[in-house]
């Protein structure tokens, strides 16, 4: 809960900033660290004003070294602090992969539960902002396939606030994936109402024909596709996963069983991706309720393209509707 309850129009970036500020006011053990997070407020301004309010000790401009940042955060967490790390861009988080996989994810397990690492690793991810090479990766599959990590991604302004607060409060490490092309999306933010539990999917739109299962940057695309589908006579539900780990099998299966058709949409590459896992899980659990195979609409299996070509790569409304059309309606 925030100290000051308020409802206002906010961008996702502002909601994230508020979540950090409110958490830091309440919990003196919360420390931010990352590149340019201090005086500059981060390249996306998510930490804007926090160094001024909480001081350089709690909003630390670190040397430019991601493994060092996360490794330092691990030691801080071992001593009782609750670090929130900012990775500047998705692809810049890779140098920290060993610290993340070998230590952050495993420390609780390695120590039989004696040493937890309540670290939140914030990663701006995904494309669609015209970023040049190494600024648009969707790296969720790497994180989601690493036991010990929670992987959370908001798609709305309210969830950005609520899920970030829940992630920092978690005693488990959380990779918090921020869809950077939604940083400037606006909505009403009621900080008191924006509580979002980690691990629960939410139905953003009800529908009876089929469900689009998605998360993060693809949610607005799916909502747009569902709206366009009405002209084709399809009444599409849209499910926002919000959390890839823990994965909300119960809600996903409930929705799929009720509509019988599903398309998974994400902008990350398809092969070995989160969508493949979802399609398999749904098929394993809901086979007799399915009227058609679960289809995937994903980015192509290519390195992220140059910005002038990225619109060919990113799943759009037409590609989603093409997939919906293939859901064996004649049966």
């Amino acid at each position: 809960m925030s100290l000051v309850t308020e409802t206002r129009t906010a961008t996702m970036a502002q909601a994230l900033n508020s979540a950090l500020r409110d958490t830091m006011r309440e919990d003196p053990t919360v420390h931010l660290l990352g590149e340019d997070v201090g005086q500059l407020g981060g390249v996306f301004r998510i930490t804007d004003g926090l160094a001024a309010e909480f001081g350089a000790d709690r909003c630390l401009d670190t040397p430019l070294a991601e493994a060092g940042i996360l490794g330092t955060a691990i030691g801080m967490a071992m001593y009782g602090l609750r670090p929130v790390v900012e990775m500047q861009f998705d692809a810049f988080a890779y140098p920290a992969m060993e610290q993340l996989v070998s230590h952050v994810a495993k420390m609780r397990n390695r120590t039989a539960g004696r040493l937890a690492l309540p670290i939140t690793v914030r990663v701006p991810y995904g494309g669609g902002i015209g970023g040049v090479e190494h600024h648009s990766d969707s790296s969720e599959a790497y994180y989601a396939s690493t036991p010990g990590l929670h992987v959370v991604t908001p798609a709305t302004v309210g969830d950005a606030y609520g899920l970030l607060r829940a992630s920092i409060a978690s005693d488990d490490p959380v990779v918090f994936l921020e869809p950077k092309r939604l940083y400037w999306s606006k909505d009403e933010l009621d900080t008191a109402a924006a509580v979002a539990p980690v691990g629960r999917a939410v139905l953003r739109r009800t529908g009876r024909s089929a469900v689009l299962i998605t998360y993060g940057p693809s949610l607005p695309v799916c909502l747009e596709a569902a709206e366009a589908a009405r002209a084709e006579g399809w009444d599409l539900a849209v499910l926002d996963l919000r959390s890839l780990v823990p994965f909300d099998d119960a809600t996903v299966c409930e929705v799929v069983r009720s509509v019988g058709r599903a398309v998974v949409v994400h902008e990350s590459t398809g092969f070995g991706g989160v969508g493949a896992e979802i399609a398999a899980r749904v098929t394993e659990r809901c086979f007799h309720h399915l009227a058609a195979p679960v289809l995937r609409v994903t980015g192509f299996d290519i390195p992220y393209p140059p910005p002038m070509l990225e619109h060919h790569h990113l799943p759009g409304v037409d590609r989603i509707l093409d997939a919906v059309a293939k859901l064996q309606w004649e049966a």
């Binding site: 420390h31 001081g55 350089a56 000790d57 630390l60 670190t62 040397p63 070294a65 493994a67 060092g68 996360l70 490794g71 330092t72 955060a73 691990i74 030691g75 801080m76 967490a77 071992m78 001593y79 009782g80 602090l81 670090p83 140098p95 060993e98 610290q99 070998s102 230590h103 495993k106 420390m107 609780r108 397990n109 390695r110 120590t111 039989a112 539960g113 004696r114 040493l115 937890a116 036991p147 010990g148 929670h150 978690s170 005693d171 488990d172 691990g199 780990v245 823990p246 994965f247 099998d249 119960a250």
Partner: protein, 377 residues
């Protein structure tokens, strides 16, 4: 008020504002011109006899511990043992210089230092026995888990020391590394962070000559590993790693420097791994017998016993007592490691997350059902 103090550097004559001309005189950071030694020098007379006898006792018991652990691998009671035989001076001194609230960040070769912190050998060796990743409580013992990915624990030591400093608490962290580990990126990042944050941390590099088979000449072209400190803006120290008194002295000075706000120190201890990398390694494939023989003459226990006896600080009774204590420890290790460990398959799922996910609960039930079916057969 902040603990961190990063004031802009003073303008440098002849440079533009904000330009970063050399800001620190490197001379005081340079390592000792020759490895620091105390044994065999007049300095030894200045030391408390009780400290010297305690170092000797721990060396003797530590050697026996190493021998017994290697024997246990041959009996199938340990899965693997990376021995610190020949490096006991570093292991013993690292544990001794730390206070109860200080933290040790060991690598996999440093179980002897972990035991030196008061951890029971049975708990210190679960990783190498194969029964549990970490057998001791890191928080209760202020001893991080044994670290296998090289140098990755070094930034943890920095972060912990940094947190202690932010909280105004006097804890110091000591990270134990090897010569091979200094090539890792995490070593570089840890030292850089430590110096920038002025973290109360000590890096002990045991340069034992080889990273498995690769000699130092293929690992680094630095004048010495201690010289690397200068590039980060911290002092480097060079010490004879088989001279337990010298290692203890240099480490104690570094710990005191860290505790009093002086920041980090890099210590390179020149030592030698008398045994192979692990029991699974064959050292004869990459090094010669004469080299090993030379180092056997520079054995840390041999040096200590000779010098203490010469100084009249050690008699036959003290030697016999230390030897007997080592035998007692070895006997206890034999008894305890020949008993089967208690293993609980359900524990596989217990500590992945604070609360198991629904998927893990399903998998735990699956394994339980498999085990129940097995038990019925």
């Amino acid at each position: 008020m902040t603990v961190l103090d990063h004031r802009p550097t003073a303008p440098v004559p002849g440079w533009l504002p904000g330009a970063t001309a050399p800001r620190t005189d490197p001379a005081p950071l340079l390592p000792d011109p020759a490895p620091v030694r105390v044994l065999g020098t007049p300095e030894l007379a200045g030391y408390r006899p009780a400290l010297l006898r305690e170092l000797y006792r721990r060396l003797v018991v530590g050697r026996r511990y190493n021998q017994q652990a290697t024997t246990l691998t041959k009996q199938g009671r340990l899965a693997v043992y990376p021995s610190s035989t020949g490096q006991e001076a570093c292991e013993v001194a690292a544990a001794m210089v730390l206070g109860e609230d200080d933290w040790l960040f060991p690598s996999y070769r440093d179980t002897l230092a972990v035991v030196g912190r008061g951890v029971d050998p049975l708990e210190a060796l679960t990783l190498l026995r194969g029964s549990a990743h970490t057998g001791y409580d890191p928080k209760a013992t202020r001893t991080a888990p044994l670290c296998t990915p090289l140098a990755t624990q070094a930034p943890h030591a920095v972060g912990l020391a940094h947190a202690a400093r932010l909280r105004g608490e006097p804890a110091v962290a000591l990270a134990m590394l090897g010569d091979g580990g200094t090539s890792e990126g995490d070593f570089h990042e840890a030292l850089n962070f430590a110096a920038v944050l002025k973290a109360p941390v000590v890096f002990l590099v045991q340069n034992n000559g080889y990273a498995i088979s690769v000699p130092l000449t293929k690992q680094s072209a630095a004048p010495s590993l201690a010289h690397k400190a200068v590039g980060y803006g911290m002092p480097g120290r060079l010490v004879d790693g088989n001279d337990a008194v010298a290692v203890h002295t240099v480490l104690a000075e570094a710990v005191e420097r860290a505790r009093s706000g002086g920041g980090p120190t890099l210590v390179e201890a020149l030592t030698y791994r008398l045994e192979a990398h692990t029991n699974a390694d064959d050292a004869t494939r990459y090094r010669q017998g004469e080299e090993v023989t030379a180092w056997q003459q520079h054995d840390p226990i041999l040096l200590m016993e000779r010098e203490l006896r010469a100084a009249g600080l050690l008699d036959d009774a003290a030697v016999a007592a230390a030897t007997a204590e080592g035998e007692q420890l070895a006997a206890r290790m034999r008894t305890e490691f020949h008993a089967e460990p208690t293993l609980d398959p359900a524990s596989l799922f217990a500590h992945v997350y604070a609360e198991p996910t629904s998927q893990l609960r399903e998998q735990a039930e699956q394994l339980a059902a498999e085990l129940a079916a097995e038990a019925e057969q």
